[in-house]
Symmetry: C2
Subunit: 250 residues, 2 copies
Amino acid sequence: MKKEPAVITAYRNENGGLIKDVNKLVASYPRVPITVDCVIFGFEENELKVLLIRSDLEFYKDKWSLLGDFADDNEELDDAAYRVLAERTGMNDVYLEQVRAFSKPNRHPGGRVITIAYCSLLNIQHHKLQSTDNELHWHSVNSIKDMAFDHKEILDVCYSWLQKRIQEHPLGFNLLPDKFSLRELQNLYEAILGVNLDRRNFRKKFFSMDFLEDIGEYEQDVPHRPGKLYRFNFEKYEKNKRKWIGIDFG
Amino acid sequence: MKKEPAVITAYRNENGGLIKDVNKLVASYPRVPITVDCVIFGFEENELKVLLIRSDLEFYKDKWSLLGDFADDNEELDDAAYRVLAERTGMNDVYLEQVRAFSKPNRHPGGRVITIAYCSLLNIQHHKLQSTDNELHWHSVNSIKDMAFDHKEILDVCYSWLQKRIQEHPLGFNLLPDKFSLRELQNLYEAILGVNLDRRNFRKKFFSMDFLEDIGEYEQDVPHRPGKLYRFNFEKYEKNKRKWIGIDFG
DNA sequence: GCAAAAGTGTTGTCCTTACACCCATGC
DNA sequence: GCATGGGTGTAAGGACAACACTTTTGC
């Protein structure tokens, strides 16, 4: 039961049990190809969308795939994920967060590849996809059935992650224009959480959190009374956010 | 801005733009040594403890290190983490969850190594460390100053993860004996969260969640009125847990 | 009988929910 | 003037925080 890991044992007892040649030690480790895969969410027409590309592999012909790439030598994983985003969308100032690693040995048909999934939120309006990117498309998250690799599983995990995360952190604003109406914000939450929320209580909630900034502008070209536009005041949020004790399993 | 990843470009245009030889594709990816590192928490003498080993590396002589090992060929990362636990503690039925990847290029002195951190909770009483494991020790989490590699950073991240997680999921029971008093449970929460909680409200809270099972036994050998012992009813919890909408940033 | 911790209830406050009416604009 | 959604307030119920006294045991 208490076997020592093989490599460590092999390198022991050279210097009072300590390993001297760390390079040799690391060189003895098995090596694995590492990729990052980005689940890039956007919001359009009151639907949560995800940016997918048609798989490059004949093996997955006509299946959709997340945007990913291998991690370069000495490239930190976050950097690799930002690089994928920049290469594919041209955007540099995008919200991005690591979700977790996926490591099933047979998840890639070409051999073992471990991938680190990242979740990313961007404003579709800020990035009009160019027509040369004709294999790059936004898909309604709820319409996606099956995908290349284990990417459907990764998408599902990231979607759940987002549903939880958006209730505890002000991520949603990354999916909206700088100026947005409360109706847009509510549509966003309803679409992501898959619920209907009471409009009056929703407003009260966000106003009481007190980081929506009334910028004195109004919606335009709407066939009804235009709503006020707001901006998310990030500084105010950072200054006022509190730590929180509240045990509650669910 | 929209450069295509080099490898994908190289393998294109062989079959209508599709890549045929997936093995060759994967073989062309850079490979990285992957390790798992386990942050193994325990609870003893009303303190949160973490299980550490003295570093095997001369480079980190006399520094403490998390328990880790490289991932074997075709070994899933969760399995590698369970293996590390079994090898080091002899325990197989331990709570374990992936936290995240750490990938700074210089985090290991022997060259680039990416590690996936796991958080693990076990009951110290169930596993009396054997004296042959004389470099394996429990350390009070709050007393740890500096560690080998980036392990202090990993520990800090996992500790924060635990503080949050324990408020939303019934993990804490993994740190306690099967039968425990409410006082022990409260001490656990107070130690992990670093706060004082009102005893009466704490009891009400847990009783109202209704998965503590009164087993009709009492504490023994205490120099005061003995408290009742309870057991966590996992089935009842699973059956009653609800989904939850509650937007609240903090 | 004394020390030490277990066990128990009530009240006020705050947060959440449910719900209905007037208002501003485009057509 | 009518259709459409914007904007607002209130009341009830539930959760949480604060708080003190009696009970049981070991010594």
